[in-house]
């Protein structure tokens, strides 16, 4: 960015230069400290338009009055004024401006000087992206900016993390920000872009910075700018990294085979107790070998030399269970780790070569990058090859044009984690399979592996078998399925070719005007291939294959006219533009079964067609936009206004067009006279913005239309009404945003930061208003509902120690906000809207838990106890039927019930953290840079579905958490885990506050160690720069429960997914 304005500056001087008389002054401009000559430094004779520019070697020549003053200025350096005083040789050292206040930043539809920006923008530069060994650039945003939450939980390499900027602006639709890639909205996967090609990622957070994106901007904008050439000598850079990935999230602690049998026996025995069958009979039955015995219910007897009827014994006095003491060894003890066939040391390789350079009339940046990222779980891979060319020409002063083109080919394979409890989900399967079942088939008597003719082990699908004339029972958990074998035998792959093209022509005319025509198009060809094998799973026995092929073509067309005028202290910038956007998506899907030749997953190799369809979608947006900025004295006072009129095809023609706008102001307090005495303040700016924009993310393309779905009755044409009736009055959600920001630099710029207060008030929120199922409809989208996200952001960096050989800097960011619903649909106002574990009520947040209130465990009998739903009817009677069998009043007056259906639902906190952010200490020790990024989140709760499954009071064959060892067993025992009882799973394991857990965490997200060789040392090698580094990502996570990732999802759900990778990489970067 600096370079662009540098070129501007240079041109300004070149063309404004007039030959002066007087004396001839020469000299060299160098950088203070390093002595490096500085080219392109502007030199102006004060009070005149006379000037010159330094050359490549930093030297300059100009004629100036001998009593004049020279002003040396260069972006990124502090301006210097030197009196000529008759000298003909003046050498100057420019000091780097640590802040680069005149840095030009990318803003909506243009650029702006950072000092005069009135909006809230966080920038992440290429240096900090390079520190992160991530395949998806968005993952590198985690922890970098205040106000930004990034979900980097997934172990699937290349997957797009979810991002939320300043809270959740929508309840039912998308709260995801708009991604803008090199000036055009981008709806492809971010993993198509090589992170190393990215120059900067700017996060636009408030209305002043996002209003020009109109109906798409209210969730914030992530603006990605790729690298371009610098107008200097050719620079070639090569980078190679090699890394390794291992499982970053440990498994939950679960009980082993020896603990498991007696526990499950207890569950069975307790379920067998009836009024006619007392505990002694039930215990005998549970130990026995009938179908009501424990072996029948578990199927497998894993103990060496123990007969089925002898596995679990019990104390005849207390009926407490214990494992037969002779059960000391396991038949297949080495084959109980279901993760072992799929866990690996993943490898991550990157190679990248880029070249950039330029002249006065052209610049270029070109790169080729290769990434091969293999995660800890086998068959989770992401490979990318990408090539970029960014070429710009300025053949004449009045015209320039250029093209930025990226092509990438991406391939990936992944695990089936579509469903939290899908059989084919390897994580679900491995986590939940009981600790007595082997992965591979064994001789059920001797424990030996059973091998096929080639000597390979065979997957144990848990079938009942007959071996040596003896019948052995089947596995009772997920029988016939094998999530691990299915993961390895099935295929979930995709290939994606993408092209992102950004072309422009720019005309400069009438001195102050510029017309820029942008044409951007993205092509996304996607082919996914899903194969389900013949041996086990949903594809068995036939084998089946799906192909999903899609083509997305998105173009954005912009005409931008700008007027830029500087009159002494007044800077005026006016922009008007028109933009049109079209997204065309077509998909073809085919699904066949009946595999003919093994190993060929193409549809031709299958016999029967299960499904085949295609469709085409169009989405169009058109906008007219304008912005005016006025700045006095380089940002001492700045005022800005922007406006956009947007039309979208998603809405009915009468509702289609909307107006979006913002106003902003900035005040450089430090430039005021009264601040002069406060020398310790280097920079102080107050900014404020207010504006309105919209959100149409996630709204269906045809949301306003009342639709029927094609559903033929055999061959007769038939249509079924959609259960979601369209709403012709639907319009986008709007957000009114206020931002107040204070930016400051103090103590010689050693302490820098900004503090922002924001208030995002969303209104006309679209609610998928739940309709009574008895109407035949499920929901209808309606614009009713308001909420706000209001909070504070702080971002601070301090150069705490800064000596020659050791420096220590600390960056800290923190965000806290309140999410509050202020208006709900009329019919939901009183009772709120219940959605899953949440209830939305006015005054509450989007993620306020509304759950059965867990009370504890009845010490008398081990029942789960919930607070009784004590709501009363008009006559003062309980609405719930009181029964002494399942309700009681405790000594302290608390009324509890063991019947989950009579449990009280109540508020139970929220999944939104109280405070989150990151702490990034960085050190420099004798040229070695070390930085550590710690992400933290304090407060909020997570709902741990994975743990709840492991805590079931029954479920024969399913794994159990070690916490189940604390179950109730004896009257009088005080515990929080109910008794084991297979007949009471619904009662004891009902969704309740029992499964909530503190979501606070501290994650060591990244450690980076780098060493730059000094240019002097490299001189003999004829290379300009050499850097070696090591980076580690997701090093450690400290949370309330081992195995749990509390930041897996914004709504607090914890479920069975491929946990994140811990990646360590080593890299070398060479510059020629």
């Amino acid at each position: 960015m600096k370079k662009i304005s540098l070129i501007f500056t240079v041109m300004l001087f070149v063309f404004q230069g007039l030959a002066a008389q007087n004396i001839r002054v020469t000299g060299t401009v160098t950088e203070k400290g390093t002595g490096t000559p500085l080219p392109f430094v502007g030199i102006q004779v004060k009070g005149t338009t006379t000037g010159a520019t330094t050359m490549d070697n930093g030297t300059y020549v100009l004629n100036a009055p001998s009593n004049g003053t020279l002003v040396f200025s260069f972006i990124g350096y502090k301006e210097i004024q030197v009196q000529i005083a008759g000298r003909t040789a003046i050498n100057v050292e420019l000091e780097q401006d640590a802040l680069a206040l005149e840095e030009v930043v990318m803003v909506a539809y243009g650029t702006a000087k950072k000092s005069s920006v009135t909006g809230a923008i966080s920038s992440v530069n290429s240096a900090s992206i390079e520190k992160r060994p991530v395949t998806n650039a968005l993952a590198a945003l985690s922890g970098t900016s205040a106000g930004v939450q990034v979900n980097t939980s997934y172990g699937q390499p290349g997957s797009d993390p979810a991002i939320r900027i300043r809270g959740f602006g929508s309840i039912n639709y998308s709260s995801a920000p708009l991604i803008v890639l090199d000036g055009a909205p981008y709806n492809g996967a971010m993993s198509n872009i090589n992170p190393a090609d990215i120059e900067s990622i700017n996060i636009l957070k408030d209305a002043a910075s996002t209003a020009l994106y109109g109906s798409r901007g209210s969730n914030g904008v992530v603006m990605i700018t790729t690298k371009k050439g610098k107008k200097e000598k050719l620079n070639i850079s090569a980078t190679v990294t090699q890394g390794f990935s291992q499982r970053g999230l440990p498994e939950y602690d679960r009980i082993d085979a020896y603990q498991y049998y007696p526990i499950m026996w207890e569950s069975l025995r307790n379920s067998l107790i009836t009024t006619t069958r007392p505990i002694d009979q039930a215990s005998a039955l549970a130990s026995g070998t009938t179908s009501n015995g424990i072996v029948s219910n578990l199927g497998y007897n894993p103990f060496t030399g123990i007969a089925n009827g002898d596995i679990v014994q019990y104390d005849p006095a207390t009926f407490a269970s214990k494992l037969n003491p002779n059960a000391t060894s396991l038949l297949w003890g080495d084959d109980l780790d279901w993760y072992s066939p799929v866990e690996r040391l993943g490898s991550r390789t990157e190679a990248m070569v880029s070249a950039n350079g330029g002249s006065e009339t052209a610049d270029y940046y070109m790169s080729v990058g290769l990434t091969k990222d293999a995660g800890w779980l086998k068959k989770t891979n992401y490979d990318r090859i990408s090539a970029r060319a960014n070429v710009n020409f300025t053949p004449r002063k009045w015209v320039s044009f250029g093209l930025n083109l990226n092509a990438s080919y991406n391939t990936s394979s992944s695990a089936n984690t579509d469903s939290n409890t899908g059989y084919a989900n390897p994580i679900y399967f491995a986590r939940n399979v009981g600790p007595i079942y082997p992965v591979y088939q064994h001789n059920r008597l001797t424990g030996e592996y059973i091998l096929d003719e080639q000597g390979n082990k065979l997957w144990d699908l848990g079938a009942a078998v007959t071996q040596g004339g003896v019948s052995y029972l089947a596995r009772t958990h997920n029988n016939g399925r094998h999530g691990i074998a299915e993961h390895l035998l099935n295929i979930i792959d995709f290939q994606r070719n993408t092209i992102q093209a950004r072309a422009y022509t720019e005309f400069n005319f009438l001195k102050d005007f510029k017309l820029r025509l942008n044409h951007s198009f993205d092509i996304n060809n996607y082919l996914s291939s899903t194969y389900e094998n013949k041996l086990v799973g949903d594809g068995a026995p036939q084998g089946r294959s799906r192909k999903n092929s899609s083509l997305r073509y998105t173009w954005t067309n912009q005409q931008i006219l700008t007027y830029n005028k500087t009159l002494e202290k007044h800077d005026i910038n006016v922009m008007v533009a028109h933009e049109s956007y079209l997204n065309t998506y077509s998909e073809f899907y085919g699904f066949r079964q009946g595999e003919i030749i093994p190993g060929n997953t193409e549809l031709i190799n299958f016999t029967t067609t299960n499904d085949i369809y295609s469709y085409l979608d169009n989405h169009a947006v058109e906008g007219y936009l304008a912005r005016a900025t006025y700045s006095y004295e380089s940002g001492r006072y700045t005022a800005e206004a922007s406006y956009r009129r947007d039309g979208s095809s998603k809405f009915e023609s009468a509702m289609r067009w909307g107006n979006f706008w913002s106003v902003g102001a900035g005040w450089r307090i430090d430039k005021e006279n009264f601040m002069k005495s406060l020398t310790w303040i280097d920079f102080l700016k107050l900014r404020a913005s207010y504006g309105l924009n919209g959100n149409d993310g996630g709204i269906s393309y045809y949301a306003w239309q009342v639709l029927y779905n094609y559903n033929n009755n055999a061959a007769e044409p038939g249509y079924i009404q959609s259960t979601v009736p369209g709403n012709p009055f639907l319009k986008w959600e709007t957000t009114i945003q206020t931002d107040l920001g204070l930016e400051f630099n103090m103590f010689g710029n050693r302490l820098r930061g900004n503090l922002d207060w924001f208030n995002k008030q969303s209104k006309d929120l679209i609610f998928s208003v739940p309709l009574s199922p008895s109407t035949g409809y499920t929901t209808q989208d309606r614009n009713i509902g308001n909420l706000y996200n209001r909070g504070w952001e702080l971002d601070m960096t301090g150069d705490i120690i800064n000596t020659k050989n050791f420096s220590f800097a600390l960056n800290l960011n923190a965000t806290t906000y309140v999410n509050k619903i202020t208006r709900l649909p009329e019919q939901n106002r009183e009772n709120g809207i219940i959605s899953g574990n949440f209830k939305r009520l006015e005054g509450g947040s989007i993620y306020d838990y509304w759950l059965r209130q867990w009370y504890g465990v009845d010490a008398d009998n081990g029942n789960a106890l919930y607070l009784f739903d004590d709501a009363k009817d008009a006559n003062g009677n309980y609405i719930m039927t009181w029964s002494d069998l399942d309700c009681k009043t405790l000594a302290d007056g608390t009324i509890v019930t063991s019947n989950q259906a009579k449990a009280k639902y109540d508020w139970a906190g929220s999944s939104i953290p109280d405070l989150f952010g990151s702490i990034t200490p960085s050190f420099k020790i004798f040229g070695v840079d070390v930085s550590v990024q710690l992400n933290y989140s304090i407060g909020g709760k997570a709902y741990d579905y994975s743990y709840a499954a492991l805590m079931s009071a029954g479920g024969f064959g399913a794994a159990k958490s070690v916490d189940i060892l604390n179950r109730w067993t004896t009257p009088g025992q005080v515990t929080n885990v109910p008794r084991m009882d297979n007949s009471k799973i619904n009662e004891f394991n009902a969704a309740s506050t029992r499964w909530l857990v503190d979501a606070s965490y501290l994650a060591v997200r990244n450690i980076n160690i780098a060493y730059n060789f000094s240019p002097r040392a490299l001189k003999t090698l004829d290379i300009k720069g050499l850097r070696i580094y090591a980076a580690a990502e997701n090093i450690a996570l400290f949370s309330a429960r081992k195995g749990m990732n509390p930041s897996q999802s914004f709504n607090g759900d914890v479920f069975n997914d491929v946990g994140f990778n811990r990646t360590v990489t080593f890299g070398v970067n060479v510059n020629f």
């Binding site: 179908s291 848990g462 009942a464 025509l517 239309q705």
Partner: protein, 500 residues
């Protein structure tokens, strides 16, 4: 010259980049995989499409659940709650908590979502009923569409009121809360009509349907014609204890239908062409049913985990009541393990008394045309209704004889009288309709307890207590009434949940 070239270049670049929109049509888009409602009800062709869509709703998958495969899934769930289908193992979880009588009392379970599914069908037919009159076209054809829609509306409410309300007490006031009888297109949930009101409206709709369908010749058996409406009237009257109407309607409904041949018995109750089908879907090849098909759980030939590892059996008690010469006896295998019969997948297991009554299209194709109403049921309704009327026992025996003799050539006309005759008819009904979803509603209709015969070990044609959990449920009580889904309770202030 050089300058001109540059101008041309700049112009060309500029032209490439000029706006590509600015016309009014630019923001008009329409889906290609859906159809605008305005196109559906602007012609009779469109209206036929709408009623055909309703026929299709009989066999689409609901709620993305394998246990919600069309209304065959509903009938299967109902039978799972009955006396006569046995789980031999708990290795496969599908339908297990229905079998254990927990899901129908859990307002968040998938099972109670039959409420949604039935009302969804009602909403589709209400669109037709309200809009058909305004469409131009021959009256007879409009009546054919409307009559079917009315019949569907009655049928759906009939199922709803049987599940979600306390039982209809013949001769009683039946003022207990029923279900909302939905007759209009609305976004507002309605209050519950009383059970009596619901039955009044059901009968009114069926009567109107009968009139509208007078003279209608249907294209295939997935459509509803007069005899299907009469069959529905018979079913309704049976629940209401309106014996005379039940008998006459059943008799009218069965006219023109013949019994299956012995060979057709072995076709697996999955072909629309079955002569006994009064009303059945036709599922063509590309309408793959995957694992949500009824036949993915109840056939013995389809390759699904449920069938391989958890084939269902009949109770020995009921099996033993089937005469040795009865063709239906062949559906079940009391010695399946020893005899290695019937056919199963190579890695499947057999349990004694397992069934082969139902057959999917093939091992890899779970489709089947589930019979919504078979003529056999009409004989059984007629016989039962006659037997319950004084002085009509002989007629009852005649009707029963027609069916029983077809099934068992050795069958001798019943000598039973009184309750013994009724019991014989009901036993025939349990045998004949095994797996077809009538058992549980029969228990409720007749206010009988659930009594599941048990055995200590699995695979003996009896329930295992630790698998079934519920083996005895006394007649009456709230447990016989399903919970209304929480989604309805949460959204419909006019309606109260069924008590605990």
């Amino acid at each position: 010259m050089k300058k001109i070239k540059l101008y041309i270049l700049a112009l060309a670049a500029g032209v490439l980049l000029v706006p590509q929109s600015c016309n009014k049509e630019y923001l008009e888009t329409a889906p290609t995989d859906q159809l605008s409602a305005s196109l559906v009800f602007n012609s009779l062709t469109g209206a036929w499409g709408a009623i055909n869509g309703v026929h299709r709703t009989m066999y689409i998958q609901y709620n993305s659940s394998q246990s919600n495969g069309g209304f065959a899934g509903m009938y299967l769930n109902l039978d799972m709650m009955g006396t006569d289908i046995v789980f031999n193992t708990t290795v496969n979880g599908w339908f297990r908590s229905t079998y254990q009588w927990t899901d129908h009392r859990n307002d968040r379970s998938t099972l109670v979502l039959w409420w949604n599914n039935l009302y969804r069908l009602v909403s589709n037919v209400n669109q037709i009923i309200t809009q058909i009159d305004a469409i131009a076209g021959p009256e007879a054809e409009k009546n054919a569409v409307k009559g079917q829609a009315l019949a569907y509306r009655a049928w759906a409410h009939f199922m709803l009121v049987q599940l979600y309300a306390d039982r209809y007490v013949p001769g009683g006031a039946n003022s207990q809360p029923g279900v909302p009888y939905m007759e209009e297109i609305t976004f507002e949930g309605k209050a519950r009509n009383t059970v009596a009101e619901v039955y009044t409206k059901i009968n009114a709709d069926l009567t109107a349907a009968l009139t509208a369908l007078e003279g209608y010749t249907r294209a295939n058996k997935s459509h509803i014609n007069k005899s299907v409406v009469q069959a529905m009237q018979a079913q309704v009257a049976l629940v209401q204890g309106n014996w005379d109407k039940a008998a006459t309607s059943a008799n009218a409904a069965r006219q023109g239908y013949s019994f299956m041949s012995a060979a057709q018995h072995l076709e697996g109750y999955s072909k629309q062409a079955n002569p006994e089908n009064l009303w059945a879907s036709y599922v063509q090849e590309d309408q793959t049913m995957y694992f949500y098909s009824f036949y993915a759980y109840m056939s013995n030939n389809f390759n699904s985990t449920a069938i391989r590892q958890s084939p269902k059996s009949i109770t020995k008690v009921l099996y033993d009541k089937i005469a040795a010469t009865d063709v239906r006896r062949g559906f079940w295998y009391p010695n399946a393990v020893a005899d290695k019969m019937p056919f199963i997948q190579s890695n499947g297991v057999r349990y004694n008394y397992m069934s082969s009554k139902f057959q999917a299209v093939s091992t890899s194709d779970s489709r089947g045309d589930f019979p919504w109403i078979r003529v056999a049921e009409m004989y059984l309704i007629e016989a039962e209704a006659l037997a319950r009327q004084t002085g009509k026992e002989e007629q009852a025996k005649d009707v029963l004889f027609l069916l029983a003799k077809n099934r068992d050539p050795q069958y001798v006309r019943s000598a039973n009288t009184g309750q013994a005759l009724i019991d014989e008819i009901l036993t025939q009904r349990r045998i004949e309709l095994w797996g077809e979803g009538r058992n549980w509603t029969d228990l409720k209709r007749l206010n009988l307890p659930l009594v599941r015969p048990t055995a200590a070990n699995a695979g003996q044609g009896a329930h295992v207590e630790s698998y079934a959990i519920k083996v005895n449920v006394p007649a009456g009580g709230t447990i016989w009434t399903w919970k209304i889904p929480k989604s309805e309770i949460d959204t419909n202030p006019n309606l109260d949940q069924n008590p605990e």
